[in-house]
């Protein structure tokens, strides 16, 4: 009797605890609409013209690319039925044949066809329209639409490289011809004229081309929801500048019918609001008051603070995916002081990267050794980072002939008959507190081994300008990591090549990589190139940052690597 009573009480207690535990958190936010914080307003919502991520993120919900990347860095079908049929053509050209999904239609029920794809390309290449996509599609030489099946079309590209498919399918979204160009202004302009830079220049005076460019660049095409339509799951509902952008799920969207077989077309929330909250403090307040469902770009301090705050952490999941950007210190190897690789290595030794990550970014960073996404199979994991070691740095400097002959605390060496002190200017972006702190720490460590580092804060564009014209010694740089590493721009001797390192072997590798289609061979070449670059330390790679993301717990959602760190369309109610 007693025992059973005790058992009964225990059971009741257990049930009660279980009940209270599961219901302990009553969310203020419910329902299937998502509010996402964006830290800045969109510039425009036209998917072709927008220049910022803030315009791209909302407009991408309304549009679809032909193909997209999956988690293992592979291009997979998105708006098309399957991987394209690839045909090699003479003269180093290649053709891809796609077929758009049968179900894919615009909002008015008209099918998405190859004509729309062609129209999109013509718009991008219109010489009077200023977009940022232009350079990517210049390699597309021709688009042939199957006369019997307008959904089937072939894209001819030259030269054939490993980037060709990415350029043709993932660099832009398809826009509807019949809505955006009702007069058919671009219809009669032959594509071959537009894709030829010389002829395109001449087309700049064609009245039809000009008329369309003016129409397309006009305000309504950038902010009126009527013209911001695509074949994606969402429709842009309203945009209140400075406040919010609202997108709504389309009723009976075509993708919902085939989502089982095409999981990439998943789109759960009924409505997504991008609320513009610039200030970090305002963002933490919004999280505390449970006013938003997701945010990125929390400062590390706020992130840790909020995570410790019970009221917040029981409502939000805190995630920190790595981002697709990295920081490095670029060195100018053309400068006689930095020409010796041992000096650059000494510089790498005096950078306490772990301290930078742990103290300045509170641990939200990962060391990297080459400019490739960490999780990409192309990343050479055999390269070991250079450790913080002041003595090693001193030895390297001494080996390279840098000694403090005049006893002023700074090492020097005779270069071209002149005694030169190893004093290096170090440019960093003005206005960023962490950049300034990093500069001070770098300078401090430099002092200890006799390198005089002179930090100088420059406004962003000026920094880039000096970098591009090789007018620097050391420079703190941040760059974004593309899905496929294309080293041409940065490392080919006859291109931009800001650091000035490059030789016949690297050039050969850089030229071979884009035309090597055997994945294994290419990977080996990638790895070799990374080794060579790392060995030179022309750019001292530091770390890639982690994004600080919070997502409301009522959703099942994963963090992703590309900005903003989450995909709002994939937020699934638990």
């Amino acid at each position: 009797m007693n025992i059973s009573k005790t058992v009964l009480i225990l059971v009741v207690l257990a049930l009660a605890t279980a009940y209270f535990c599961t219901n302990a958190v009553k969310y203020k936010r419910t329902g299937n609409s998502v509010v996402v914080r964006m830290e800045s307003d969109a510039d425009r919502l036209n998917t072709i013209l927008t220049q910022t991520n803030y315009g791209r993120i909302p407009s991408d919900l309304a549009h679809l690319n032909l193909m997209t990347y999956n988690d293992s860095f592979e291009l997979v079908p998105y708006l098309v039925k399957a991987q394209p049929i690839i045909k090699d053509l003479p003269n180093n050209a290649v053709s891809y044949t796609f077929e758009i999904l049968d179900e894919a239609v615009w909002d008015d029920g008209k099918p998405v066809t190859g004509k729309d794809y062609l129209f999109t390309l013509k718009t991008i290449l219109n010489p009077k329209i200023e977009g940022v996509i232009g350079p990517f599609v210049e390699e597309i030489k021709d688009v042939q639409i199957d006369p019997k099946n307008p959904k089937r079309f072939t894209v001819v590209m030259s030269p054939k490289t490993i980037y060709s498919l990415d350029y043709a399918t993932n660099s832009f979204s398809v826009i509807p011809e019949h809505i955006l160009d009702p007069k058919g202004l671009m219809k009669d302009i032959p594509f071959s004229d537009l894709s030829d830079p010389a002829k395109a220049e001449a087309l700049g005076s064609n009245p039809k081309v000009v008329e369309f460019a003016e129409l397309f660049s006009s305000q309504p095409y950038s902010n009126d929801p009527k013209y911001l339509v695509g074949c994606g799951p969402y429709r842009i509902e309203s945009w209140t500048p400075g406040e919010k952008i609202v997108v709504k799920k389309k009723k009976d969207w075509w993708g919902d019918k085939i989502v089982k077989t095409h999981p990439l077309l998943t789109a759960y929330p009924d409505e997504i609001t991008f609320k513009i909250i610039v200030d970090p403090a305002a963002t933490t307040a919004a999280l505390k008051n449970e006013e938003i469902d997701a945010t990125n770009r929390l400062t590390p301090e706020d992130f840790l603070d909020l995570q410790r705050n019970e009221a917040v952490s029981e409502r939000y999941n805190f995630l920190s995916p790595t981002t697709m950007t990295y920081f490095c210190i670029a060195t100018n190897t053309r400068n006689p002081k930095l020409a010796d690789k041992r000096v650059r290595k000494a510089l790498a030794h005096i950078l306490d990267v772990d301290e930078l990550i742990n103290e300045l970014y509170l641990g939200f960073g990962v060391r990297i050794c080459s400019p490739v996404p960490l999780n990409s199979p192309d990343y050479n994991k055999n390269i070991k980072p250079i450790p913080f070691d002041l003595n090693k740095a001193r030895t390297l400097l001494a080996e390279a002939g840098w000694k403090d002959s005049n006893k002023n605390g700074i090492v020097d060496k005779v270069i071209d008959g002149k005694v030169t002190e190893l004093s290096l200017s170090y440019f960093y972006t003005a206005g960023r507190e962490t950049a300034q702190q990093m500069a001070l720490l770098f300078q401090d460590n430099g002092k200890k081994v006799g390198i005089d580092i002179i930090p100088k804060a420059l406004p962003g564009p000026e920094l880039v300008g000096n970098w591009a014209s090789h007018n620097f010694e050391l420079l703190s740089a941040g760059r974004s990591l593309p899905h496929i590493w294309s080293p041409e721009q940065t490392w080919r001797t006859d291109s931009d090549n800001r650091s000035g390192f490059g030789n016949a072997e690297t050039d050969a590798l850089i030229d071979q990589i884009p035309v090597t289609f055997d994945v294994k061979k290419r990977r080996a070449m990638y790895h070799r190139l990374q080794e060579m670059i790392f060995e030179e330390q022309a750019e001292i790679f530091l770390f890639t940052l982690k994004e600080c993301v919070a997502i409301h717990k009522r959703f099942e959602a994963e963090a992703i690597e590309s900005t903003p760190g989450y995909a709002p369309a994939e937020f699934k109610l638990k």
Binding site: A285, P461, G465, Q489, T493, S495
Partner: protein, 476 residues
Amino acid sequence: MLRYFFKRLLLFAPTLLVALVLTFGLSRLVPGDPVEEANAEEFERSTQSEAELLRMYRSRSARMGLDKPVFYFAFHPAAYPDTLYKIPFRNRREVLMKLLRQNGNWPAVEAYYESLGQLKKELQCMPVKWNSVARSSLGQVINTLQFSNDLGVAQLHLKKMAALIPQDSMLQQATFPTYQQLRKSYDFLMAHPQKAKLYRPALVWQGFDNQFHQTFWGYLQGNLGQSYEDGKPVSAKIGRALSWTLLINIFALPIAYLLAIFIGVRMAVQHGSKFDKRTNAILFGLYAMPSFWVALVLLVVFSNPDWGMNFVSITGMMDLDKNSSWSTWLSVSFRQLIIPILCLIYPAMTVLTRQMRSTMMVALKQDFVRTARAKGVGENEVIWQHAFPNAAFPLITSFGSLLPEMVAGSLLVENIFNIPGMGHLMVDAMGTQDWPVVFGIMLLGTFLSIVGLVLVDLAYAWLDPRVRFDRSNLSV
């Protein structure tokens, strides 16, 4: 009265015009290339191929109206080209100018630089699979030469090139003619320096289609240009911010005046009393206290939840929707604005009170006050009806100088308390190098303070008819 008003306006018009010209001048003195700054992201993201960069630069600068000469005329050395402003990219412009300053022969310098670019293009166009040590080294040399501004060093590099090119037959075939052209243009350059031209001034008429003309008419029509940040009209951005600044000042100014009048008059009346002495000491302390520090301390004290006094919010206003209720609007804005307004009130108040006190003391000693008292007028009436109106004149004058000061004060307070007003916008724009916004705010601030001055004059004339009719008073 109306005539007087127009006269005052006419007097201020030249001031405004000079301020406009000054603003334009300053906006062109700012370091950096506006085209590069406004499109920095795009340039970084582009493929960086030579042709692409040039095309992008030209179209962007045309859109921003910067492909035009700066002013109606230019006064520069005869060696300088008339189309200096058309050379894309600041760094290249600088390299070219440095070369020119060593030589003085612009066509030759230009030809040399162009053939260098041509050589680079040709090297880039060589078949992909052709690689050799010579080619890579040549690439390096060209890259160095492109940004080298020393003609003496250039000769060394050209010699290096001459040694490199024959090492590789493909390279020789592809680049030798251009190299020869480069060499020829270099030799021509060195053989025909025109240094005298550098010392000869030239006056060049550049026509009415220039940046100054355009911008100045834009200013006059209220068009302040477009923000570099997001391409939106500056006037719209400033307009939104201005409403915030006005909001806090509309509360702060009258309160500061009222407080100053009451305290100041009382201090003057009870001159020498304990109240007078104590208030004076407190006012002096307040007067010495920098307002930013007060703001920071109040913020620390009243926004810290650990001390249980998180009464002040620095975030609420951004979350208010247009459809939130009146009561929430009031409570939220009260919580966010009360302390900033206090921080604006007290510095103005201390200055005004001290002024009020001293003028009132003078007024109270005047004959007519004594006469009034002698007539047996009540003390209150003496103070407020007789002495005060005469003592209040300086307060009106200080309104003119107070208005710009309040704008300055809001600059700090807005930044500390995170209010999206003009000061906040200005500092943000300084940080992001958004010059049109910075200079737009400068113009608006000037305009507002001139309006303030005109208002002060009018008030003066309205209160004191003598001013209206006194001709000699017209000049300030």
